[in-house]
């Protein structure tokens, strides 16, 4: 897993998001054991406390569960992770349209650009 973190935003929610993307995309399967807090911290180059908080946050949302002494696992229900992915896609799309509007491109014209690019 490649971690790309943006220093302009709090890191903890970004770690949550990336784990959700991994789950929704099938990189992490239900009941699969995740990397340890320290492994994620080293891989992402962040503070272990931040990763710990992210995992706890995901546990509260029912996306992960922890087993004392064995670590963190992906929850059986991945619908929450998928919802997070959907929200990220929505935000990115909205941001794209906003940027295009700032360049003076009308939404109809944006559609044409998108169509051209996807072909």
């Amino acid at each position: 897993m490649v971690w790309t973190l943006n220093k302009d935003r709090p890191l903890c929610p970004q770690i949550c998001e990336q784990i959700c993307v991994g789950i929704a995309g099938g990189e992490f399967q239900p009941d699969q054991r995740l990397m340890s807090v320290r492994e994620v911290a080293v891989a992402a180059g962040v503070n272990p406390n931040t990763v710990q908080r992210a995992f706890e946050e995901l546990e509260r949302s029912g996306i992960l569960y922890s087993v004392r002494g064995s670590g963190w696992f992906v929850g059986a229900d991945i619908s929450r992770a998928k919802a997070v992915l959907e929200a990220i896609i929505g935000e990115k799309t909205a941001a794209y349209f906003k940027e295009m509007a700032a360049l003076g491109v009308a939404p109809e014209a944006v559609k044409a650009y998108v169509k051209e690019w996807s072909e």
């Binding site: 302009d8 935003r9 320290r38 503070n47 406390n49």
Partner: protein
Amino acid sequence: MSEILRCENLTKKYGAHTVALDGLNLTLDSGKIVGLLGPNGSGKTTLIKIINGLLTPSGGRVVIDGYAPGVESKKLVAYLPDNSYLNSWMTIQQIVDYFADFYEDFRPDLALSMLERLDIRPQRRLKTLSKGNKEKVCLILVMARNAKLYVLDEPIAGVDPAARDYVISTIINNYNPDSTVLISTHLISDIEEILDRVLFLKNGRLVLDQSVDEIRQEHGKSVDELFREVFRW
């Protein structure tokens, strides 16, 4: 979470006119990685030297896990100074033995295995190593202690980007969740991802003391950007 370090109205004057620390109040809890940030001459190294008993304050006091700086506090604090105090003619093995004699909490096996991973043979003398490798050896010796408080003065000054990554992963890997790491630097963007909290020091006063994710949330910018704003002249 318990308190590991407390500064009360800490003041340090050099001569009649230079005030390096100006009534500093500060509390650090255990289990945190804290950045001590400030431009040159803001008092970072003065604070660190007082914590380590190398300077005595002109006023106020420092308490480290209940002790004033001294023999007892030095058992708890692992200190990486901004320039090396090790004898350069010594071999790495001799220095490791020296640390093992000096500090009860030093783990020689851990230090030697970390050195082995860097291909630094214990038979080599310190003076034969490159500047970057010397700095890594010093960091390894400090992080191989099982201390309550690690105080690292500019651990990434003068190392290349790959070495910087090594320094950061060494800190993350060896830091135990009950201990606290205080890192002073002016290279903020290089280390801000591993910090829980930052202290901005300006003219011997604390101008900001906040969690890094709060800073990003509140200001919508990185700690580095905020630093440049606060210290604009």
